[in-house]
Amino acid sequence: MSNQATINSGISSGDNSGDSPAISMVEAINLALHRAMLDDDDVILLGEDVATNGGVFRATVGLKEKFGVKRVIDTPLAENMIAGLAVGMAAQGLKPIAEIQFMGFIFPSMEHIVCHAARLRNRTRGRLSCPLVIRAPYGGGIHAPEHHSESTEALFAHIPGLRVVIPSSPQRAYGLLLAAIRNPDPVIFLEPKRIYRSQNQRVEDNAQALPLDTCFTLREGNDISLISWGAMIKETLEAADQLAEEGIHCEVIDVATISPLDRETILASVGKTGHCVIIHEAPLNGSVGSEIASLLASEALLDLRAPVARVGGYDTVMPYFRLEDQYMPQTDHIIDAVKRTLEFE
């Protein structure tokens, strides 16, 4: 997991996909699910509306037809049950991929994720393990009903024994989902639904996983490090583009695995730039951004030439959609934070 490899895997995005068609993130997820199920009979899909309907976002479309109802399972409507079943299946050596239809409905399943999935290997000293993936669309920006737009990833990042992975492009969705499925431990795979279909990218169905626990450096720059994940990568890259026109060169890091954090890549970047803005959609209070800021305060203090800035959601309840745009961090907010940080000196 060298930083060089990290940079390579990020920079190469979009360059080596041959004649593969350009597809959206949700199609890339579907492609990865097909690939994983084809390669490994132990991979099982379960969730609400995942089989016949192909998922409410169509992430699982075609899988029932290809792999049958024994492996692509419409469950009764109970999120707690879905997670509990996945724990039992995983303990038997299956590799269940459970879909929670929206992250806002994941809370009934938290007991099984936190008290069982995250702990089974540890509390049996390796006798049993829990190689499951829980997929859930998350985040705002699509004018959805109440409870469909929150970003509560920090709740999971806090739990020892869990991995929390968030893709930000079709290619990374394909490679990271394959990695999550192959990982021998539980992975919470959160899909930023705002960018499910906003960007098409060539994705080669080459069965190649991308590394977990590793940041992706999407753009190199010497002036300031912009650290983000999920859908906010879109605004972060836009801000970097606009700032480049003013001669400000941003390094853009997609954290991708928010827990456990790839501290080395973040520290190396800030060591180089001396400035940092952390961007996320989730509320600022107790966020993964707080953890990154804490990391920089304790390990990069002498590298920093300005305070670490954070651009995030307000510490409010996620508003219903008429005020949604006012809640969401915007490209301009990022640009302002960058300029304030650089002007500190």
Binding site: M1, I44, K70, R71, T75, P76, A78, N80, M81, A83, G84, L85, A86, V87, G88, M89, A90, A91, Q92, G93, L94, P96, P108, E111, H112, C115, H116, R121, N122, R123, T124, R125, G126, R127, L128, S129, P160, G161, R163, N183, P184, D185, D213, P260, L261, R263, E264, S294, L295, S298, E299
Partner: protein
């Protein structure tokens, strides 16, 4: 008005509380071998329980959940399970774990605060004790789903208490076990108490077994102090599960003869007369009186077995007490298959602290010192 559904809950009892046979016995119970085995195992379970409580009282064991009163349920069920079946216990099933192959010293190790008590290879694919109430019901359904997906002829056995029947996990598990026809047997040890809350405050339903009917699965009630009734009910349920004929809910009616755990004092909420009555019905005495009456178990058998059991348990206690503690690194080593980098650093700090070295060594960064302090 037409009645579109009527349910029935059968009740099984062969040996009543006076050790009298109240209906013709099944063939296996006409000879002594199985019954004597059940009796002997129950004696071990009871003596183990007494010893574990004594260890806790003398500061040599952590909080411990007594199994006094559910010996018949556990011994019969575990004895009928095959090696390939999977046990998904709650936290009162020490006798089942013992019969499934766990060393008593490992059971003590668990209650002595050491995760290695969940790691015995003898447990094979069995789940470890489940402390969060009723969550194990869904794990059992997940295990049973895997068995069904792989078209194996194995049964999953899920143990729970009467309090657990109030939880959504239990009802969700019954529901999915029914709709998917899973090879699972749920056994409620209805010992009448969920810590201080009596059975009457959990549900107004006449039986807990009838919860099965709402899920469209078979439910039955059995005298949980009668090994013969238990054997009949559990053996049939296991056979149905292994043959792909669907799940069963068995409510085994017993009585918790102990406090909830060693941290509890049941005299605060339970009338001594109720406990006295329960001791009149308890499973070990009931079977012993029957075996005596049949001439299958004499006083000298009893003396010898009690003595042998005490020797066995003493040896397990010594083995438990002689088990050295885990290295401090163990709290990190099984968190993930591969330990992430920052946890390697925290492990190094924990190890150096434990060995008495300064925590401010050159390997520990500021953030990790803070995280681990």
């Amino acid at each position: 008005m037409n009645i579109i559904y009527e349910g029935q809950i059968p009740f099984y009892q062969f040996l009543n509380e006076h050790s009298q046979v109240i209906q013709p016995l099944p063939e296996w119970a006409l000879t002594k071998e199985t019954l004597i085995n059940y009796y002997q195992q129950m004696v071990i379970a009871r003596q183990f329980d007494t010893k574990a409580i004594a260890l806790q009282r003398t500061g040599q064991l952590g909080t411990y959940a007594s199994s006094a009163g559910c010996e018949a349920i556990d011994v019969v069920t575990a004895s009928l399970m095959s090696e390939a079946d999977v046990l998904v216990p709650y936290y009162r099933n020490h006798a089942m774990q013992m019969i499934r192959g766990m060393e008593l010293s490992d059971i003590l190790l668990y209650w002595g605060g050491d995760e290695r008590g969940n790691s015995s290879p003898a447990q094979r694919e069995d789940f470890p004790n489940c402390v969060p109430i009723a969550t194990q019901c869904l794990h059992a359904c997940g295990v049973a789903s895997a068995i069904k997906i792989r078209a194996q002829q194995r049964a999953t056995v899920c143990m729970l208490g009467d309090g657990a029947t109030s939880k959504g996990d239990f009802l969700e598990a019954l529901n999915v076990a029914g709709v998917w026809q899973l090879p699972v047997v749920f056994i409620i040890n209805n010992n009448q108490w969920a810590i201080s809350v009596p059975r009457s405050l959990q549900s107004i339903a006449l039986t807990l077994a009838q919860k099965a009917l709402g899920a469209g699965i078979r439910g039955e009630q059995v005298d949980g102090n009668d090994v013969i009734a238990l054997h009949q009910s559990v053996a049939s349920a296991l056979q149905r599960a292994r043959e792909g004929k669907g799940p069963t809910l068995i409510e085994a009616v017993s009585y918790r003869l102990s406090d909830h755990t060693t941290a509890d004092d049941a005299t605060r909420y339970r009338h001594p007369d109720a406990l006295k009555t329960a001791w009149e019905k308890e499973p070990i005495k009931r079977l012993r009186n029957y075996l005596h009456a049949q001439g299958w178990w004499q006083e000298h058998n009893e003396t010898e077995w009690q003595h042998q059991t005490a020797t066995l348990i003493q040896a397990s206690v010594e083995q438990y007490l002689d088990t050295p503690p885990q290295p401090v690194s163990a709290m990190f080593d099984y968190l993930f298959a591969d330990l992430p980098e920052h946890l390697v650093k925290q492990r190094d700090i924990a190890v150096s602290r434990d060995s008495g070295e300064s925590s401010c060594n050159s390997n520990s960064s500021g953030n990790d010192r803070e995280a681990a302090s």
